[in-house]
Symmetry: C2
């Protein structure tokens, strides 16, 4: 079968390849009748534009890479959907990669994406760290000159990065302040076991709220053993309750952990919120349907995805664009678990 | 900055480009010391292999496309994670697209992916239909000669397609049979409002179970107004309960709808399962943590993702491979909502 090219179509209609190109790229300047005829013929002959050629000519493959820790996380899957919707609107495709919270995998994926000549990368990085390997990996990205934007998680580094995230210090503060306003003095924080900045920043907000009220901070109240799953929240809460119960409220790193914790609390015979109050983070769809419905801090995950794509496109189109750090305000959602 | 090529590296070490290629592609036959030196230098100079070149030479970009209706669905996000993990293991990347249950978007994405020269496509198609446009779009795929595999949803067509899915007739049957064994005679089915085969097949299983017991099938008991969200399950169930309550059990198209329905049922003052029993489908993570925990039919979503990638790779590597229709057995998960 002969390869159908722009020239094949141009010859058929006795027009210039440039005219055919205009039609296929939905640009104006070709009369309607001819436009339709060319489009129909292109479809009939299964014309496929040669994007590889574009790539070689220094043109654009219109593809970006997205690296998440886990695309099944309700929060990140919503960020991803926002990125995909915005990318689609701008004619871009996304290559999805999961790091599964492994630094090595994250580095490997960054390398792989650069090899595929993506135009940019959106990255929810595995950990904030002063680790040399990690810094090297990111400096590598910088040296390669590939635009990238961080989402939701910062990276500890000498230099600032472009980032779009929720103001998690404020989020942690809002949640803790609300618990204290309701009379709670002994609050435990079910933190993320991975040293991601989002978990650390919520802790900073937690401490800030305690300090404002002159309450002591107890290290024993920070339980940094949770993975971001219901199952993990359930098991960690079970273990905590088996040891002692010198607290009246729980702040969970996210809603998944909160849901698991609620289950362990109720199984032990405690009532929520009368005996133990629980507050989550993210406002995933399920938060509305827990029993009792979960009070939580809302992140606008869809907006984070759209904004990350905006910032990245700006960097792709203007290599000298100024860096942007966008911190979205968290939103307090009052339900019945506190 | 000069572009770093295989030849640059070969010249530096006074070896052939073939030797450098061996090292960079992790092939044997180069002594360890030289191997390490070349790898270090490649990293230092930020060498990036020219995959565009490979594409033009008729080689492989090692990229496939995945089209889902919505990547935030817990079931599909798990399928997607399985595909990504398997693709990664085989050195492939995935381009993710959402169709948002729009036939037009699905067609546009198929076209886009072929333009990007993906090697294959995994597709959870929007609808099963005899619609001409839809068939044309799929026949287009066939004519373009791009391997593709359907997941979870069939397509009504003259010819069979490669597909990996759960046996949904069996799943619908198992769920309904269990409800009847528990004494339920009046069961409503909260179906998917889109005409996807998965919803239709569960209905076939539902009817089969009724018929086996000689029970009449009531069209009024099929509520085909649900989208795949908790919110939709909640609203549809509210509307159903406002009209009448001539049923004692609910079979939901999936767990999301079941969770929303449970909330509407409890809000109305009915107890689950004493007054109304509820059974779901999928066994998403939440199912274990609802109150009461949700009895459901498990789909092995991760395995569907892995198998779909296996079937696709087989088609990519053996264009004459026989078609495969893989129907995974559903698994009954007994909890406390029936």
């Amino acid at each position: 079968m002969e390869k159908i090219t722009l020239k094949t179509l141009a010859d058929l209609f006795q027009v210039s390849p440039k005219t055919v190109s205009k039609v296929l790229n939905h640009k104006p300047g070709v009369r309607e009748e001819l436009r339709k005829a060319i489009l129909n013929k292109a479809e009939e002959l299964h014309y496929v534009p040669n994007l590889f050629g574009r790539g070689l000519q220094g043109g654009s493959m219109k593809t970006i890479g997205v690296i998440l820790s886990d695309n099944t996380s309700p929060n990140y899957s919503t960020v991803l959907k926002g990125i995909e919707a915005s990318a689609d609107k701008h004619g871009y495709n996304i290559i999805l990669c999961n790091s599964n919270e492994s630094k090595e995998t994250e580095e490997q994926k960054i390398r792989l994406l650069t090899e595929k000549h993506v135009e940019g990368i959106i990255l929810a990085s595995v950990s904030y760290t002063t680790d040399v390997m990690k810094r090297k990996s990111l400096l590598g990205l910088k040296n390669l000159g590939i635009p990238y934007v961080l989402i939701s998680r910062m990276i500890h580094d000498e230099e600032p990065h472009d980032i779009v995230k929720t103001n998690d210090i404020e989020g942690g503060y809002l949640a803790t302040k609300y618990l204290m306003d309701r009379g709670h003095r002994d609050i435990i924080y079910l933190a993320n076991k991975y040293s991601v900045t989002s978990s650390h920043e919520r802790l900073v907000g937690f401490r800030k709220a305690l300090e404002q009220q002159g309450l002591p901070f107890k290290q024993a109240h920070i339980i940094d053993q949770c993975e971001s799953t219901m199952e993990s929240g359930y098991k960690v809460m079970q273990a905590v309750l088996a040891e002692c119960k010198d607290f009246t409220a729980v702040l969970a790193f996210n809603d998944l952990i909160a849901v698991g914790a609620m289950s362990a609390i109720q199984e032990k015979g405690y009532r929520i919120p009368e005996d133990i109050a629980v507050i989550g983070y993210d406002d995933i769809e399920y938060a509305k349907f827990t029993n009792p419905p979960l009070t939580t801090i809302r992140q606008d995950a869809d907006r984070i995805g759209h904004l990350a794509m905006d910032v990245l496109l700006n960097k792709i189109n203007n290599p000298d664009a100024e860096q942007q750090q966008i911190y979205l305000p968290p939103q307090f959602i009052e339900r019945s678990s506190v």
